[in-house]
C-alpha cells in the first residue's frame, strides 16, 4: 500500500494538508469587492480560523484574490503579480465582473472573462458576494487542493502561448519582462 506507485506517500499527505490549511492571500482590491474582504478577515466572519491570512506581497502569497472588474490597465498589474507568485499558486475570481463582465459587460476598457487571461481555480458568484459566500469559495478551493484539481498554475505553464495571445490582444503596448519561472 505504502510502496504502491499510485497511492500518495505520507510526505504528500502532510504537504497537501498544510497547503490547504495555510493559504496566504494577496487581495487584489481595485474593484468594489474589496469592501467585502475586511469583514471576512476580522471578528465577524474570521477567515483566519481556516488558516487564511492576508499577505502583503505576491512573493509570499499563495492565493490571488481578484475582487471585481479589471480594466485593461489593471490587468497588466494582475499579470505581473500573478507571475511573481511562487508555485503552487491559486486564483479566485470574485464577483460577477470576473465571470462575464457583470455590469460592465459593454464597457470599452474592462475585460469580460477573467479565465481567458489568467487561470482561475474557483469563481465566486454574486454582486457582491457576501462574506459567507467568500468563505464557501475558500473552502471549495481547499477541497479542490485536496482532490489535486487546483492546478491552474500547471495549466498556465502548458498553455502559455494561448494566454499570452489573449493578454496581448488587450494590452497593446506590451513592455513586460518574460515570465521567469
Amino acid at each position: 500500500m505504502i510502496n504502491d506507485k499510485n497511492s500518495k506517500k505520507i510526505v504528500d499527505i502532510i504537504q497537501d494538508f498544510s497547503r490547504r490549511h495555510s493559504l496566504f492571500v494577496l487581495a487584489y482590491g481595485t474593484g468594489c469587492g474589496a469592501i467585502e474582504i475586511p469583514p471576512t478577515m476580522t471578528s465577524r466572519y474570521d477567515a483566519e480560523r481556516f488558516g487564511i491570512r492576508g499577505m502583503a506581497t505576491p512573493r509570499q502569497a499563495d492565493l490571488l484574490l481578484i475582487t471585481g472588474y479589471l480594466a485593461s490597465k489593471t490587468l497588466k498589474r494582475v499579470i505581473r503579480a500573478y507571475e511573481q507568485m511562487q508555485d503552487p499558486k491559486y486564483v479566485i475570481g470574485f464577483g460577477s465582473c470576473t465571470i462575464n463582465g457583470g455590469m460592465y459587460w459593454d464597457s470599452y476598457n474592462t475585460i469580460k472573462i477573467l479565465s481567458d487571461y489568467i487561470p482561475v481555480d474557483v469563481y465566486i458568484n454574486g454582486c457582491m458576494p457576501r462574506p459567507e459566500a467568500v468563505i464557501t469559495g475558500f473552502i471549495e478551493l481547499q477541497n479542490l487542493i485536496k482532490e489535486g484539481k487546483a492546478n491552474g498554475a500547471q495549466k498556465y505553464k502548458e498553455n502559455l502561448e494561448w494566454y499570452r495571445e489573449n493578454q496581448k490582444k488587450v494590452i497593446k503596448d506590451w513592455k513586460m519582462p518574460d515570465y521567469n519561472w
Partner: protein
C-alpha cells in the same frame, strides 16, 4: 566525552527551541484573536505555514546575497542558542553542555545583532524599495533599543563582577535570589528594551505591512520565508531564555522554563495587541527616553548603592 553524543545534544536543543518557539507563535496568534473577539487559527497553525512554505516548488532569488541573508539569520539564531544555558545546572539534555566561556555575555551582545545585519544585506540585494526602507528603519530602531539593553547588562556585570552567563546563574543560585530583585532598575530597562527586540506593535516599525508591505521580507518567498520564520521562532526562544537566565534565576526543569518564558513573553505580546504603530522617530525617542534613563539609574545603583 564522545563528540557524536554532544552533537546529538546540539540537535535536540535546536529542535526544542524550534518547537517551543513555533508553538509560542501559534499561541500569540490565538491570544491576539481572542482579544479581538475572534476564534483564531489552531495553535499548530505556524507549523502548517512553515511546512507549506518549505514545500513550495519554486523560490526566486535575485543573487547570492539574498540567498545567504536568511541563512545568516538562522545561523545567528542557532549560534546564540548554543551559548545560552537552557536550564541551570549541567544542561537540560543528559550529555549536553553548551559552549560557555568567560565573557560570553559580551559575545552574545554582538551575536544577537548578526542575524539582523545578515537579513539587511540579503534584503538590500532584492532591489525592492520597501525592503530598503524597512532595513533602514529596522537598523535605526536597533540603535534605539540596544542602548537600554546594553546598559541593563552592564549594570548586572558591574554588580556581580562576572561577564559569563553561567557565572550570573551561579550568583543567583548561590545567593538564593533573582537579579530582578537585586537590580530592579536594570530589569525594568531590559524589559522595556525587550518590547523593541520582539518587534510587536507599537514597535513593528520595520515590517509595517500596511505601509511597507512587510519591509525587509517583501521579496522573500517560499523556502526563504520559511527559513526566516524558523529563524524568528528560534530567536524569540533565545531572547526569552536569555532574559530568564539573566534576571529570573534560570529554570531548574523544562516546565518551569516554559512557565517563566511564557509569562515574560506576554509582556510584549499583550502590550502589542492593544497598541497602534509608532513612527520611526517616535520609537527611537521612546527608547532614548525613559528606558535609557532607567538603565543609567541601574548602572548608578550597581556601582554606588550595592
Amino acid at each position: 566525552m564522545n563528540i557524536w553524543i554532544t552533537i546529538l545534544g546540539f540537535l535536540a536543543t535546536v529542535f526544542l527551541a524550534f518547537v517551543v518557539g513555533v508553538f509560542y507563535g501559534g499561541f500569540v496568534r490565538k491570544i491576539t484573536a481572542r482579544v479581538q473577539n475572534r476564534v483564531g487559527p489552531p495553535v499548530y497553525q505556524n507549523f502548517l505555514d512553515i511546512v507549506k512554505l518549505y514545500s513550495k516548488k519554486t523560490a526566486i532569488n535575485h543573487g547570492w546575497m539574498q540567498h545567504l541573508g536568511p541563512a545568516f539569520a538562522i545561523t545567528a539564531s542557532v549560534t546564540s542558542l548554543m551559548f545560552i544555558p537552557i536550564l541551570n545546572g549541567t544542561g537540560w539534555f543528559p550529555w549536553f553542555e553548551n559552549l560557555n566561556f568567560k565573557g560570553d555575555l559580551i559575545f552574545l551582545l554582538y551575536m544577537m545583532v548578526f542575524g539582523s545585519l545578515g537579513m539587511a544585506l540579503g534584503a538590500g540585494q532584492t532591489g525592492n524599495p520597501n525592503s530598503a526602507i524597512g532595513v533602514s528603519r529596522g537598523l535605526s530602531q536597533m540603535v534605539g533599543y540596544e542602548i537600554p539593553w546594553v546598559l541593563a547588562l552592564v549594570a548586572l556585570m558591574l554588580q556581580t563582577k562576572t561577564t559569563s552567563l553561567t557565572g550570573l546563574l551561579d550568583y543567583q543560585v548561590s545567593n538564593g535570589t533573582w537579579m530582578m530583585f537585586e537590580s530592579p532598575f536594570a530589569f525594568v530597562a531590559a524589559v522595556l528594551a525587550m518590547l523593541g527586540m520582539f518587534h510587536y506593535a507599537p514597535f513593528d516599525v520595520p515590517f509595517a505591512p500596511a505601509e511597507l508591505s512587510s519591509g525587509p521580507a517583501s521579496e522573500f518567498g517560499g523556502k526563504y520565508l520559511a527559513l526566516m520564520m524558523s529563524s524568528g521562532s528560534i530567536f524569540s526562544f533565545v531572547k526569552l531564555v536569555l532574559i530568564v537566565d539573566v534576571f529570573m534565576g534560570g529554570a531548574s526543569n523544562l516546565i518551569m522554563l516554559v512557565v517563566k518564558t511564557f509569562a515574560l513573553y506576554m509582556i510584549p505580546v499583550l502590550y502589542g495587541i492593544v497598541s497602534p504603530r509608532y513612527r520611526t522617530e517616535q520609537s527611537i525617542r521612546y527608547f532614548w527616553g525613559w528606558p535609557t534613563f532607567i538603565g543609567i539609574l541601574g548602572v548608578i545603583y550597581a556601582v554606588f548603592v550595592r
